[in-house]
């Protein structure tokens, strides 16, 4: 027989003002199982809590119900008190007779009646509760970071510097991401490569970081603290340990393909180094463009390589790791140019996108930092920048604002002016969004010092006429159409989630938002967390972001990871699903509905992974066989609560 103690709090007059405390105490005294019933003015006070702990000892109570305020306020207070008296925390339940009763009702008699029903319900709930201990499980003190852009680099360094092992996976042959392609960065105009390369080198040298470039995530399984990851390392056909960077191979390679790093403004060989600053500093043989995968066909590079670093027999490798947390920082890419034909992109060589313009500005770029037209290498004297190329256009393109374009376009105009002193820059814009430290001042400098002409309006068409690019647009401020004869047009293309994000999301079993970016667990309070515990997102994989934001999120995600990795054991609420295998027929319906992948079929029976289960109970309500239920939220408890709530 259970010995249940019942306590009711006056909460000053908050409860006692409406609820007839004495009547509740008396009524509960006679309720089956309740052996002790009393009230106190403030149960949550120290003397109030002592009343409970003393009664547990003196009256040999094994379960306790407290009718007071909402459990969100003091459930943990009272559960701790009960624990201190030697009972399991689940032997304490709260009836909320303040927020859900005394504060919302005015009729004393009926509020008292409701308080009694709520109290009886809590007795029924506690009666059915089992002693449960939090579920502990070990943590692999290692993190996986996916994506080697600035976000991934920063997150890896923060984790590594905190003493945790990191595996950094990058799909390209080198880390650095888009930031290494940039010229200067707004609003300070410091050189992007100069500030990034030290971090890249640090990554490659760091004893805690295992860098896997030219690699992709193959499979992710497991759960927080215990993920299992399979990574596929694609063959580079060049042994980085042997390669001495003599560059002889590229000289003999007969193949010329567009260079991704320069966004096709230049070409590269089939065997190549992505950029002079590439980390790891080694060559990669792009097997898709190499004609000599059958070495007889070509094999010239291998012939000239003195150190025999080229190995055509290299095979893809599958590497397996266990990690405790994962940070996905897969970054962005520019909107597909095929979507932007009305601006002549792809048709006219002098209509370029913003990243291409970055390369033109870059000292390491194809023009050595001189701004020249791709078509004839002449200096453009009139240049048009078109903002929101693909952004903020829900009908045809992306509905969202790509956020960084306003600032980098201002920077582009400024850099152009610094380069071509007699040139004129025009910027078509919808709004200028320059929120950020020093951002507005930067834009003003572009306008005032560099005489950039900002035109508020959209461009309808760009076409070529007599060697000039005719830009047709409208200035909505003066209400007139505008035609500019430009030498060059730069499109501030919308940023999109990187191509692999969708596939990675599938492997990570998380959802994407409507635009294809990763979905954070809460837009405000959990900006770098996913719905899967132990999995974090950072940077422009979540939404378009500039560098400082990416870095901040990277450090945020790293710190969140550390909250897991720094634990010896993680604990999880034990109110999880439990399967009655004798009833389960293995129909898979619970597996279908579980939002956490906590259920699976094993030997044709549902099996709960208690660490993944959050105890939502959707499986229970779906199971036709009543073969699954949530511990301490059993159907029997609910059945009895329903009865008690109706006065039975």
């Amino acid at each position: 027989m259970k010995r249940i103690g019942f306590f009711i709090c006056h909460c000053g007059i908050n409860i006692a003002g409406i609820v007839d405390i004495k009547k509740v105490v008396d009524e509960m005294k006679g309720y089956p199982g309740v052996v002790y019933s009393r009230d106190y003015v403030y149960m949550c006070s120290d003397p109030g809590q002592s009343l409970i702990t003393d009664a547990i000892k003196e009256e040999k109570l094994d379960k306790v119900v407290i009718s007071c305020c909402s459990p969100t306020l003091h459930e943990s207070t009272f559960r701790n008190a009960v624990k201190s008296a030697g009972l399991n925390q689940f032997h304490c339940e709260i009836a909320n007779i303040r927020e859900q009763c005394s504060w919302v009702h005015t009729n004393r008699e009926r509020a008292t009646d409701k308080a009694i029903k709520l109290s009886k319900s809590a007795v029924e709930r506690v009666r059915g509760n089992d002693s449960l201990e939090p579920i502990g499980f070990p943590v692999t003190k290692k993190a996986l970071v996916v994506g080697g852009g600035i976000t991934g680099i920063q997150a890896s360094l923060d984790l590594a510097n905190s003493g945790y092992k990191v595996i950094l996976v990058e799909k390209d042959p080198s880390i650095g991401g888009h930031m290494i392609q940039l010229s200067e960065t707004f609003p300070t105009l410091d050189c992007s490569q100069c500030i990034l390369t030290p971090k890249m080198v640090e990554v490659s040298k760091h004893p805690n970081i295992d860098l896997l470039t030219y690699s992709e995530i193959e499979e992710v399984s497991g759960y927080i603290g215990n993920f299992k990851v399979k990574v596929k390392k694609k063959p580079t056909y060049v042994d980085p340990d042997k390669c001495n960077m003599c560059d002889e191979c590229t000289k003999v390679c007969p193949v010329l393909v567009p260079n991704e790093f320069d966004l096709s403004l230049t070409g590269r060989r089939a065997i190549y180094i992505p950029s002079p600053q590439a980390i790891p500093a080694t060559y990669t043989l792009d097997i898709n463009s190499c004609p000599g995968f059958v070495p007889i066909a070509c094999g010239k590079c291998a012939d000239v390589c003195e150190v025999n670093a080229i190995d055509f027999d290299m095979k893809p490798e599958i590497l397996e790791f266990e990690v405790g947390s994962i940070i996905a920082a897969t970054g962005y890419e520019l909107y597909d140019k095929k979507e932007m034909t009305s601006f002549g992109y792809g048709k006219y060589p002098d209509v370029i996108d913003s990243l291409q313009f970055e390369r033109l500005c870059s000292a390491s770029g194809p023009t050595g930092g001189k701004i020249l037209r791709p078509s004839d290498h002449k200096e453009p004297k009139e240049i048009v920048f078109i903002q929101c190329a693909g952004s903020r256009d829900p009908e045809l393109h992306c509905a969202y604002c790509s956020k960084i374009c306003c600032m980098y376009t201002a920077k582009h105009a400024m850099l152009y002016k610094h380069n071509v002193h007699d040139g004129q820059a025009y910027i078509f814009y919808i709004d200028i969004r320059s929120g950020g430290k020093g951002y507005e001042e930067f834009v003003q400098r572009t306008i005032e010092e560099d005489n950039t002409l900002y035109l508020r309006g959209k461009v309808s068409k760009v076409y070529e006429e007599r060697g000039k690019l005719k830009v047709w647009g409208v200035d909505t401020l003066i209400g007139k159409t505008i035609e500019i004869n430009a030498d060059m047009v730069v499109l501030a293309m919308a940023t999109r989630p990187s191509a692999g994000a969708a596939e990675l999301a599938k492997k990570l079993k998380v959802s994407l938002d409507k635009d294809g970016f990763f979905a954070e667990a809460h837009p405000k309070l959990k900006p770098v967390e996913s719905i899967t515990s132990g999995l974090f997102f950072a940077g422009s994989a979540l939404s378009p972001k500039d560098i400082p934001e990416c870095v901040a999120q990277a450090s945020g995600a790293a710190a969140k990871s550390i909250t897991i990795l720094s634990q010896d054991k993680l604990y999880h609420s034990p109110t999880v699903a439990k399967v009655n295998t004798r009833l389960c027929t293995g129909c898979n319906m619970c597996v279908d509905v579980c939002p956490y992948e906590a259920l699976s079929l094993e030997d044709n029976k549902a099996k709960v992974n208690e660490i993944l289960c959050e105890g939502c109970g959707t499986c229970y309500a779906t199971c036709l066989r009543a073969a699954i239920e949530i511990k301490n939220h059993t159907p029997l408890q609910v059945h009895n609560i329903i009865n008690a709530s109706l006065g039975g």
């Binding site: 004798r582 009833l583 027929t585 293995g586 129909c587 319906m589 036709l624 009543a626 029997l636 059945h639």
Partner: protein, 343 residues
Amino acid sequence: MVHIEDIKKEAKRLLKEKKIKYLIGYKRGTNGLTALPTFIKEPEDTDELIWEASCIQNLSRYLVEEKKEQLKNKAENTLPVGIIAKACDTRSIAVLLQEKFLERKDIYIIGVSCEYGGVIDQKKIKKKFRGKKPEKVIFDKTNNLLIGTKFGNIKVPAEEILAERCIECKSTFPLLCDDVFGENVKRKISEHFNSIKEIEELPAESRWEFWHGHLEKCIRCFACRSVCPMCFCTECVVDPIELAVTNESTAREKAEKVKWIERSTTATDNIIFQLVRTLHLAGRCIDCGECERVCPVDIPIRLLNKKMEKTALEKFGYESGFDINMPSLISNFKDEDPQDFIR
């Protein structure tokens, strides 16, 4: 046209070549017109097989039983069990496969198309042929059935004696079959949900009177549940079929069974039993009509399930028994599911 001789030949071959463990089929009934289930092990016994419009029963129920025996005895099934299945029967097998209760490799489906027909309604026949003792029903090529009696064959338009569910049937051609007899014909169907229209159009109070009046009669013989291929739970939520206990079950587990309804045959508890059954069959019932056929007190159970079938189709675009790979009706959702009833 389906020729029974072809089916017999195939059945004989399967048994002779030991392709199947045994065959579940239909034989001539000794008691009235309805065909009876038969379980044939020996090739020579295939001669008793029949195929006509009196083959009402959904034999897939016996596959469920076979599976349960296997699970109980932890026996590995070596050979598939053969079954003669109408279109609706194959749909119930499809649901059993969808819910992973059966495995495809364990069944050998001999599908038989109902073509223009279907099966008869015993009650309609009884009314129509009072005193004439019909002995068999023969499909005609047309929309007629021939009823064999002592006084010779009597031609009847099919819709006069076909079961309501057959008149409303979506597809008379079986699915998932290993062998199939008969043709896939397109036939005219007036209304898939004709039978519930009348009740739906009644005012609420009359609907209540209708259902209360029927369910009040329930004697809890559980024939509806027993005959249903979808009711394969070990322990029924509302009233146990058997207790899923073993010698390892704790006393508390045994004591704490929830009693959602009592043993007393009150109308309320009868209604709750049928409502729960109906909800549990939502998206799973394939309208074989067996529950209604076997009910000794003539409760039109099928009309409850039909309502769920209609709701599933109209509200969620879901049809049961056609796709074994999709999640079930209630273990799935679409963003655009209706929610105008929610405040």
